[in-house]
Structure formats: structure tokens, C-alpha cells
């Protein structure tokens, strides 16, 4: 397997406060990586760095041979390859579900309108929301909004999807809908990077699990290695707290 994302020695600080310290990891094509760890350990920042929303202080992030830490970075090219879904859905409130999905392909990729809408309809079916095409975000439940947000990112046809605690704001019932959607995606071979607090889900779908704390990767391994036989004291302490 060839690495799709190569992160080496990434450092990031806000002002004088370090958030990421010497982060290195590789993510292969088709792999599903889960990043776990206590709140404030820099997990979300890492995802935002991969997508170029937050510039890194030093180090290198290579996404399919695009260097993210490059002043001349072609952000558009990067973002066509990398989709991101946020905790708070962040759908555009003044556009319907299907418009939210079709907008970016039309405006950013200059796709013809009917093609973009056809694709959007297909994606809505994929996240099982065909009947909500013309609903506005405010009329959808949290779980439905989150699935539209996933479809919106998929519409850009990315090579990798980043999920930033996408179920944290949802109740247990609607959580399932979203997690099933992600599981199906991973099963289809989409490269996924998840920041999550759902340990059960992580152990089910992840190929690799990274435990971060204090801006560092403390321990990495397969789900079995991390959840069943963690070597590091901090990992064990964290897991015993959340499991």
C-alpha cells in the first residue's frame, strides 16, 4: 500500500502555546485511521492542518504529492482531494439540502448544473435522505444535517475524507445513522481520517488507531493493540476512563 498522506514532524503553535508537537504518521490509500485522545490534545487542529485551514508552524504534510506546508500551495487543488466534515455540520442555512451539495461542484469545479444536481441526488440517496432534497438545514435533525454535510464533501469527489468529531453533538439514536454512513464509506474503500470519541466505532472500523495527548502521538497501532493491550500508561488511563 502506498501512503496517500504523509505527515512528518509537524509542529503547530497558537502564539506561544504549542498545540501539535512532532507529529508523524502515514495514511495509506483506502485506510481508515482513527485519532483518539482527551479534549484539547490537538486532534481537531491536526485535521484542519491536513486540509490547509490552519497553517502548520513547521514540518511537512504531503497529500498525494501536494505539500501543504508550502507558501505557494494551490489550496483549491488540495481541497479537491481532501473533504472535511465538522462537528457542528456547518451547512449553509440559506440553501436547501440538495443546493448545499450541488453548490461547490458548480461554483468551484465549474460543473454543469444538471450534472451537479444529478450527482447530488445520487449522493443524497447514498446517505438515505432522498426525500429531504428540498428541505432547509433548519428543518432537518442533527443527524440528517450531518449526513447532508458528508454528502456535500463527497460531492467534490475527494480522495480522503476527514471527520472531526462528527457525532459529538448528536444524541445516541441519530449518532448511529451517521456512523453507519461513515462505516459504509470506509467499506467502499474511501480513505478516512476520524477524530472521534466513539471507541466502539473506532475499534470496529479503524485500520489504525492513534492516541494523542498534549499535542503528541503517544501510541499508535491496530485497534486490538490499542484497545486490548495498550503499552503506554497514559493510553491505559484514558481508555479506562472512557470505556
Amino acid at each position: 500500500m502506498q501512503p496517500l498522506i504523509t505527515i512528518s514532524h509537524v509542529e503547530k503553535s497558537f502564539g506561544t502555546m504549542p498545540v501539535l508537537r512532532d507529529i508523524s504518521m502515514t495514511i495509506a490509500k483506502g485506510e481508515c485511521a482513527c485519532i483518539i485522545g482527551p479534549s484539547g490534545s490537538g486532534k481537531s487542529t491536526l485535521l484542519r492542518c491536513i486540509n490547509g485551514l490552519v497553517p502548520v508552524t513547521s514540518g511537512s504534510i504531503l497529500v498525494d504529492s501536494i505539500e501543504v506546508n508550502d507558501p505557494h500551495l494551490d489550496k483549491l487543488a488540495l481541497r479537491r482531494k481532501v473533504g472535511i466534515v465538522f462537528q457542528q455540520y456547518n451547512l449553509f442555512p440559506h440553501k436547501t439540502a440538495i443546493q448545499n451539495i450541488a453548490m461547490a461542484p458548480i461554483h468551484v469545479l465549474n460543473r454543469p448544473k444538471d450534472e451537479a444536481y444529478e450527482n447530488a441526488r445520487r449522493l443524497l440517496a447514498k446517505v438515505k435522505l432522498s426525500e429531504k432534497a428540498d428541505a432547509y438545514p433548519g428543518e432537518l435533525s442533527g443527524g440528517q444535517q450531518q449526513r447532508v454535510a458528508i454528502a456535500r464533501s463527497l460531492a467534490m469527489n475527494p480522495m480522503v475524507m476527514l471527520f472531526d468529531e462528527v457525532t459529538a453533538a448528536l444524541d445516541p439514536e441519530t449518532k448511529k445513522e451517521v456512523l453507519f454512513t461513515i462505516r459504509d464509506l470506509a467499506a467502499e474503500g474511501m480513505t478516512c481520517v476520524l477524530v472521534t470519541h466513539e471507541m466502539g466505532f473506532a475499534s470496529e472500523v479503524a485500520d489504525h488507531v492513534y492516541f494523542t495527548d498534549g499535542g503528541r502521538i503517544v501510541e499508535a497501532g491496530t485497534p486490538t493493540e490499542i484497545f486490548k493491550a495498550a503499552r503506554n500508561e497514559r493510553t491505559r488511563a484514558f481508555l479506562s476512563q472512557v470505556l
Partner: protein, 249 residues
Amino acid sequence: MMDAIAHWFKWLSNQHGINYSVFFDNYDQTLFLKGLKTTIILSLACIALSILVGLIGAWLQGSRIRAARVGTAMFVQFFRNTPPLVQLAFFYYAVSALLPTVTDSFGAQTPLINNLGWAIISFSLFAGAFNIEIFRSGIEAVPSAMTEAAESLGYTRFQIYRIVVIPIAFRICLPSLGNNLVNLVKTTTLAYAIGVPELLYASAQIWSEAMNVREMMVLLLITYVALVAILVAVMQRWEKSLRVPGYVS
């Protein structure tokens, strides 16, 4: 129908001394309607221009050039915190005196901009200063998560503004914009002070001749309240047409 109305008001005037001359006196009626027309033209021109001033100002306030930001802030504070009547006099008497005159069709020297023109400029800048603040706070009220989401989809800065920020910000602004435009329509009465023949000026002409101050005053107040009511209704309709189901701004 019109005849019947004129007849009735004439009777009211003769019998009870309640003199609504605009309803039966041709001259007064023309004067009043012309005044109404001027007020409407003045209001519409000021509404359009002040929104333009507001948009340009809000854009300048988000500029990366410090001088543009400071300059806009100065403009806003100055026009918000000085009397509009003095502003009008400042433009009409002082600035106008500095401008060259032109020769009109009769061969006489006339100012480059007439009193109606100065009223439009002055009120547009006055209301525009308020609009700048309204638009700016609307743009600031758009959650940064929205722009982040658009950015992650690959939108350019300009596209983010055009497709995401402005439409959302505009919905947030609309109620305060409506309030300000209502104030603007009321402010157009100040044009009386520089002799623009708008509604108040026309009414004063009528009551000084027909000696019917009380009647004209009632009519004037009702007319302005009606004009404001129309504007409010239009704004509300606009707000409603832009309302997004399930979204509370």
C-alpha cells in the same frame, strides 16, 4: 367619484370651517401632489444611494489597508454624531460655494448641483453612515464556521463573500436596515430648510395661504405615517420572501 369627494370636502369647508383645500382646490391639490412626488423621489434616491454608501463602506472597513479602515471609521462617526440639518447646511451653503457654477438654458449662472441634489447627497451620506455599521455588524454576525466550511470546499475569498457571507449577513441586517430607512424617509423633511419643494414645504405654502394649519398638519402626519407604513410593509414582505424555513437569524 373624485367629484363627489371634492364636493363633500367643499361642503365641510363651507359648513363647518374644516378646510381641506387640497381635496377641492385645484391649485392646492397640484401643489400637494407635487410635494408628495418630490418626497417620494427624494426618499427613493436616498434609499438607493445610502445602501450603496453602506455596501462600499462595509467593504472598506474589511479592507487590509489601515488608512481605508480608519477613514471609513472617521466618516461613520462624524456623520452619526453631528446633526443632519447642519450637515445639509454644510453641503448646501459651504461645499456648494466652492463648486463652479454652470450656465443654464436661460444663460444664467446656476450652481452645479441644485438644492434637491444636495439634499439627496447629504441624506444619503447621513443614512449611509448608519448602513455601514449595520452591514458590518451583519457580516460579523455570520458564524466563522460557515466561512470555514466554504473554505474547506475550495471556495475563493470572493466566492465565500458572494455565496455564503453576504446572503446570510443580509438576512441578519434586514430588520435594522428597515428601521434606518424609515428614519431616512422621516429625515427627508429637513430638505424644507433649503427650500426643496417636498411635502412639508408644499404644505407650508398651502397653509400660509389657505390659513388651514390644523387641517394640513393632520393631513401631513397621516401622509407621513402612511408612507412609513408602506415602506415597513415592503421591508416586511422582503424579509418574508428571504426567510429560510427553520433558520432563525
